[in-house]
Structures are given as structure tokens and as C-alpha cells.
Amino acid sequence: MELLSGGEILIRALTDVKVKHLWGYPGGAALHIYDAIFRQDKLDHILMRHEQAAVHAADAYARATGEVGAALVTSGPGATNAITGIATAYMDSIPMVVISAQVPQEKIGEDAFQEIDMIGVSRPTVKHSYMVKRPEDIAETIAKAFYIASTGRPGPVVVDVPKDVTDPNNKVAYKFPEKVKLRSYQPTTRGHSGQIKRAVNLLMSAKRPIIYSGGGVVLGNASEQLRALARRLNYPVTNTLMGLGAFPGTDRQFVGMLGMHGTFEANTAMHHADVILAVGARFDDRVTNATERFCPSAKIIHIDVDPSSIAKTVRADIPIVGPCDVVLGDMLDQIQQADLQIDEPAIADWWQQIDEWRNRHGLYTASRYKPSKGENIMPQDVIKTLYKVTKGEAYVASDVGQHQMFAAQYYLFDKPRQWINSGGLGTMGFGLPAAMGAQMAYPDANVACVTGEGSIQMCIQELAACTQHQLPVKIIILNNQSLGMVKQWQDMQYGSRYSHVLYEDSLPDFVKLAEAYGHVGMKVTDFDLLESSMEECFALKDRVVIMDISVDQDEHVYPMHVAPGSMRDMWLSKTERT
């Protein structure tokens, strides 16, 4: 049997679980591991400029591909820097393994140089974590970590590796376990057939149904089953922020995103629905508004692989625990086999009602926002232009703020995994490293980072890593000269007292900044030049481009839930509400 050091075993085990890219940043406690990386060529290590970004990139790689993302950080500050990234992945249930180096075991507990209790610090933000104590245990721990991260409800797993465990002078036999078995962890593989039967019956009897699908459909690769079921039923579909793309954004049955900034028609249809099929969604507070006023006449079928998501905030009438693809598939099978029919006349009436809502206040009605003109570029139009220029096929990684909501509303994602954003934690700084992760996964694809002048400054250092690793992402800054989303709340709830949301002429010159990193910078202030500039930007296939686009500084994101209230209580503009 082959004898390897702990550092070598770690890298070998990562290649055995099929990791292609490891996003990381070195340091003292990780030196043995980095030396093992140096002496091999199977695993591609990507040196980032900050551990947070390394973890975001690994996370986004996972979101874009469905594979498990992998990151490596050193002990102490490396580990704490990784926490925001881990928490971001945790909140969105992203399969990821983060390896953190640790001080040697004999020093643990002594407040040694760069010692931090990573298991303790990361505990509330991980699906699970391990500290490896012997080189013999590394391979099995890695196998378990990847298994846990990727099965059931996915999530990040931390593996903490003390330096002595990777000692190059201590070589042990390498053996990668063929199978992982954990007696305390057995994710559900099928839904309860009785419950599925009840759900199908309820679903077929619906007069005002809606399918509310979330990130779980993307994560669970259930988009195909969702589409098939929705088509067979001809029911309206709404997606959460995390679920966009699971059902095609351009489909007639798609009524748009729901929730705080959801469409008028999606939120109103939810409110009036008699049956809601919730799948891979978690009734998040950004979706439901006040739960006691949530969808008063609806019977709720809730499918989720994680039982704790069911009935957490909103009671389910028919809970079904199981993987979304399998359960949706079973539902469709039952409908096909028994040739069940929907209530045609009722559904026709329902569609008529929904279309009426859509035509009244939908995102594409003329009065939604004032049109762009000359020097006044509306942020919505930037996204529409991006959609047009990239033919709706780009991977769009977003930061957090108004620009994120405009992107979610106006870029019509037809495929799952095309839209990459931090929904649960809402992490500013996610966008650029996330775009890098997607670009690494799909080198030839158009990858856009939709961001604000605020958010982009939170991981701006990665412009250097883009150069080093040839990741030609296109950075689209919707520059409204402010922390726009916070400012919007200050407008709406604090009498426009703009407390610390303005920069007082301190913004960098983004064109020069791009150039300083060897990239291309473009500034756009005229709407008439927006589309041609963007064409130019995406034509620069192998360059990173920053487009600094001056947008209307006073625009708000609408619709917006009136809180506390029901799903249908919304502001539709600064002056109209439902």
C-alpha cells in the first residue's frame, strides 16, 4: 500500500471525491498542505485575494454546476475570514466543503499564534464539522464531509486539520473508503406514498391553484419534473428569489417572483389561491409577509427534503418529506396513470383573473417605471439591456441591494443555476467572487456580475485574481451613488433622513480602477449608448470589463410588501398601494 503524508492524503482524497478546483489562501498552519499541492498536478488550486472570496467562489461554483465546492484556508484569521462565506452557503443550502488548517494539536487551547476554535466559531453556520486528529483519518473524513455536504438538504461542512496531522515526515497508508455510512444520518429518498396521493387529489380539485417553487428545486435538480408537472396541470408557477430559473422565466405559465419584491400578479395570486403546491421552498419571511395573514384561503401542500423546513413558519395541510425530483415525479406519474383531469373551466377563469392582474400592474406594463431618457438611465433598463445583449443566456451573479432585485425581476432566467445570488444571508461582496466561480465552471459562457457601487467594493480585491486565473467576468455596476436599498428604506420609513448611505464624493473612478488591475473600464452615462457599450463589453471575450453605469439615483424597487400585511399588500410605486 502507498505511504503518504497527511498533506498528501488530503489532496489525494480531494481528487478522489472529484474536486477539480480548490479555492484558497495559504498560511502557516496550511504550509504542509500547500507543499503537497505544489507537488502534484491533478488538483487545480486557485489563489484568491481574501478567504471570504475564496469561499464565495467555491460556493458559486457549486451553485453553477451542482457539484460540491471546495475551499482551503489557513488557521486563525484565514478561518474567521471564511466564516461569512460559510454562513452565506449555509443559508442557501449550498454543498461545500471548507478545509481549515489548525495549529498543531499540542498547542490547541494555549491561545497559540493564529489559533481559533474553528469548530466552535463555525458551528451555527455549518451542516456539520470535523476535526481530524490522525493522518489515517483524513481520507475517511473527507469522504464523509463530501457525502454530508451533497446529500439530503445540502450545506457546508468544515474540516479542521491541525498542522501536525499533515506532517510530511509522518507517512501512513492511503486508503479511500469505497462507501460512506453514517448510522445517525440517513436522508429521505422517497416521499410518503399516501401523502403524495392525498396531495394529488387536492391538487386536481383546485380551482385557484399556484405552484410556489424555491431554491430546493434548483438544488435538487428537479426543474425538469417541475416543468413537466406544471405543463400537465396548466397551473401558474411562481419562483422564489432562490428558485429563479427552475421554471422558465419566459414561459406563459410563469407569473414572476413572489415575496417582498415579487410581482403584483404572483403575490396577489398567492393571496387568493385555494391550493398552494410549495416545493423546495421554506416560507421565508421575505416571502410570506405577516404569517398570520398569509394566504387565508389556501390549503398547502409542502414538499421538502428537510422535515424541519415544513411547518416551521407556516402550517402545511399535506406535508411531504422527500427529494423534490422524486416526489414531483411520483405526483406526475399518478396523474398520468389515472389520467386525472384538472377543473378546466375553473382554471380558465383563474387564468383570466391572473392575466387581468398581470395586465393591470405587471412588471411589463407601461406605468411600472418612467422610461430611460438621455442622461437618465433607469436601473430596470440596464437589466433589460443585459438580457438582450446576452440573449438571456448569461450566468448572472449578483450582489445585494436594489440592483439584485432589479436583476431578479427583469432578467428572465430560463434555466436553473443561471442565477447566482446570496438570498438567505444577503451578503454584499458575494457578486464578484461568485461570478468567478461560475466562470471557472463555464469558461466559454458569458458571466455577468450585477452589482452596485457599494457592494462591489466589498470584494474588489478579486480583480487581481481574475487576471491571474483568466476569469473574464463582466462587472455591471448599477451606480446610483448610494447604498440604494438602505436609502429606499430610509425614504419609506425614516422621512428620507439619509443616515450614512451616501459617499460624499469618495467613490473611486471605476474605469481607472479597472485599468489599474489591467482590465477594461467603461463609463456609461447616456441611455442611447447603453446597448452598444454593453455589446462592446461582451464582445471582449477574454477581458474583464467593468461597466460603471450611472443610473437614476432616486429609483425604488417595486412592488414592495407593506409590512406587516398579507401577500397582496404592496406598494406599487412611491404613491400607489394595493
Partner: protein, 163 residues
């Protein structure tokens, strides 16, 4: 309503802190907690009491089950079960109070396990309410120290919590 939750847990480093962390992280309260390895040393058995409504209890059991180290969870208060707690109590005992305290200990079927010139250490075992009642019964005697193990419990009859 008071609930008694029993958890079979992998006896791994850090597994207890995951359980305790879960409670503080999600805003659930723990009134008492007892934990020790079982006859199978790879497993720990943990018993905790919490005062929660049905909805919260459902979430607590689901969230506990979600922890990778948790092998099994049951809510003992859902069925017939036995629960016990042990209390050691140091009480000032001098003069006439000595006999008085001794009588109370007898009534509660406790034992005096240490005798000092002016103190007793009393051991009482039973359900938590009995322990509370004993403290109540001592009303006049100055209590110097109380230590309780927290509740442990198991189901009556044939059923048992096993892997």
C-alpha cells in the same frame, strides 16, 4: 408545557455543544440537561427538559434530528415514562432545627449523607416536583447550597430507545 426530550447521541467530541448550541441559536430554552455515555460507549444519552408549546416542540425535535451526531430523538412526555432527578442539598442544621430537618428528610424518603456540627447534606431523589416540594418544605431552615443532576428518564414497558 413541560417536555422531557431524550436524545441518543454519537459520543464524539463537540456533539454535546452542537445540541446545546442549537437551543441558544434558535431561541429554545433548556431547563435541565443531563448527559452521560450509555452501555455502548460510542453513544451518549442526553435528557433535557424544556417548557415549550407544541409547535416549538415539533421544531425542536426536527432540528435535533437534523444534527448529524444525533442518532435518535424522542419526546418522553408523549407517553408513559419514568423520570428521576437527584438533588444534594446542604442545609444549616443546629439546635431544634436538626430534628425538624431530619423529619422532613424521612417524609421525603431522602437520606442525610453528611453530618457536620451545624450542617447536614441531604440527598433526595425522585421527580423534579418532589425535589421542589422538599425545598419548599424546608422553608425555615437556611439552605447553603443546592445541586441537582437534571432530569433523566425512559419509557415504561417494552419499548426502548436504541439504534
Amino acid at each position: 408545557m413541560k417536555r422531557l426530550i431524550s436524545v441518543l447521541l454519537e459520543n464524539e467530541p463537540g456533539s454535546l455543544s452542537r445540541v446545546v448550541g442549537l437551543f441558544s441559536q434558535r431561541g429554545y430554552n433548556i431547563d435541565s440537561l443531563s448527559v452521560a455515555p450509555t452501555e455502548d460507549t460510542t453513544l451518549s444519552r442526553l435528557t433535557l427538559t424544556t417548557v415549550s408549546d407544541d409547535h416549538t416542540i415539533e421544531q425542536i425535535t426536527k432540528q435535533l434530528n437534523k444534527l448529524i451526531d444525533v442518532v435518535k430523538v424522542i419526546d418522553l412526555s408523549e407517553g408513559v415514562h419514568i423520570e428521576r432527578e437527584l438533588m444534594l442539598l446542604k442545609v444549616k442544621a443546629s439546635g431544634a432545627a436538626r430534628a425538624e430537618i431530619k423529619r422532613s428528610v424521612d417524609i421525603f424518603r431522602g437520606q442525610i449523607v453528611d453530618v457536620g456540627p451545624t450542617t447536614y447534606v441531604v440527598q433526595i431523589m425522585g421527580e423534579s416536583t418532589k425535589l421542589d416540594a422538599f425545598i419548599e418544605a424546608l422553608s425555615d431552615a437556611p439552605i447553603l447550597e443546592v445541586v441537582r443532576t437534571g432530569v433523566c428518564g425512559l419509557m415504561r414497558g417494552e419499548k426502548s430507545l436504541k439504534v
